[in-house]
């Protein structure tokens, strides 16, 4: 049982993520989570403002069901398939984050310092999450995909545009984590 309840090693997790992609392709669909953001826009009537959102979103409802399943999966994993084990982070990472003001790194999935009620009711904290979300939503559509569409599906199918996008993901991520986060915290 411990094998299930403890965090899973990367060499188990990676192939299982590929299995998700394989199953969706087998069902005649594709693995692309960011498309749902566009679908939500279309449902909300964004087609009135841009042709980009004028499409029959009902054809995408299967993907919304995947989203619903993912939410349920997150619930099941934390409620029934986890113990109290703390994420096995590099001790250097933990010390470093502590110096930046992040306590108990790895005890939760996201830092309380960014996501708890205190953080999100402060103007700075709220802005941080809004700006982050805007960047993700804008960037992923501009790049035509996210981690699932480009990094997993695109690289697996050996597509050059996806390789360029993933390089972009890392340029942005490296700059944010190494140069901008230390300025914020």
């Amino acid at each position: 049982m411990d094998y299930i309840l403890n965090p899973w090693p990367w060499y188990v997790s990676g192939p299982l993520i590929a299995l998700v992609m394989a199953l969706l392709l087998y069902f005649g669909k594709t693995f692309g989570m960011s498309s749902n953001l566009r679908t939500f826009c279309a449902i909300g009537g964004a087609g009135k403002f841009s042709n980009f959102f004028k499409f029959n979103w009902k054809n995408q409802s299967w993907n919304l069901i995947v989203v619903l399943g993912a939410i349920i999966g997150g619930f099941i994993a934390t409620q029934f398939l986890s113990n109290d084990s703390i994420s096995d982070l590099n001790p250097d990472t933990v010390t470093e984050l502590q110096n930046m003001g992040f306590e108990n790194a790895g005890a939760t999935l996201v830092p309380n310092e960014m996501y708890n009620i205190e953080a999100i009711t402060s103007t700075g904290g709220l802005l941080l999450l809004i700006i982050g979300g805007l960047l993700v939503g804008f960037g992923t559509r501009y790049a035509g995909g996210c981690t699932s569409g480009h990094a997993i599906t695109g690289l697996s199918s050996l597509q050059k545009p996806s390789l360029i996008a993933v390089i972009g993901f890392f340029i942005g991520g490296l700059i944010m984590t190494n140069f901008i986060l230390p300025l914020i915290f």
Partner: protein, 137 residues
């Protein structure tokens, strides 16, 4: 009932991403600081398995549920949109520690404040739709 399989794939996806800790803000931080192999191992083995699956299916050994060839849509050619869009996405990914799949999964794990990120991401996508024709691709 035709949607049940998608629900189950989603549940499986959610469980795998929580148990692999790919939804952890800290794992993303650690990855971009090159302080752990964990995330590189996940992405690396996922892509390696994916390549294997698609190569086997290309040889005709695996067909879709309807008996057709496994089909992966081709991304349009381009450079600017991928490098600039990708970089913008990377900024956001490293800041909030979640990409568009994990956002929903985190909601299920009880991180309700992620709804702010999801709302902002929808707005970000909307802004792209508005500005699309003015942007270089």
């Amino acid at each position: 009932m035709k949607y049940l399989k998608f629900l189950l794939v989603g549940v499986f996806f959610g469980i795998v991403l929580v148990k692999s800790e790919a939804v952890s803000w800290y794992r993303i931080y650690e990855m971009f600081r090159f302080q752990s192999f964990h995330m590189y191992g996940i992405i690396g083995t996922a892509v390696a398995s994916g390549i294997l699956f698609l190569q086997i299916s290309k040889k005709g050994y695996i067909k879709s549920i309807k008996g057709a060839d496994i089909f992966v849509p081709k991304k349009d050619n381009g450079l600017i949109r991928y490098i600039v869009g990708g970089t913008i996405f990377g900024f956001g990914w490293a800041l909030v520690g979640a990409c568009p799949g994990p956002m929903y999964i985190l909601l299920g794990t009880g991180v309700y404040s992620i709804l702010i990120v999801i709302g902002a991401a929808i707005l970000g996508t909307f802004l792209y739709g508005i500005l699309k024709d003015k942007l270089p691709h």
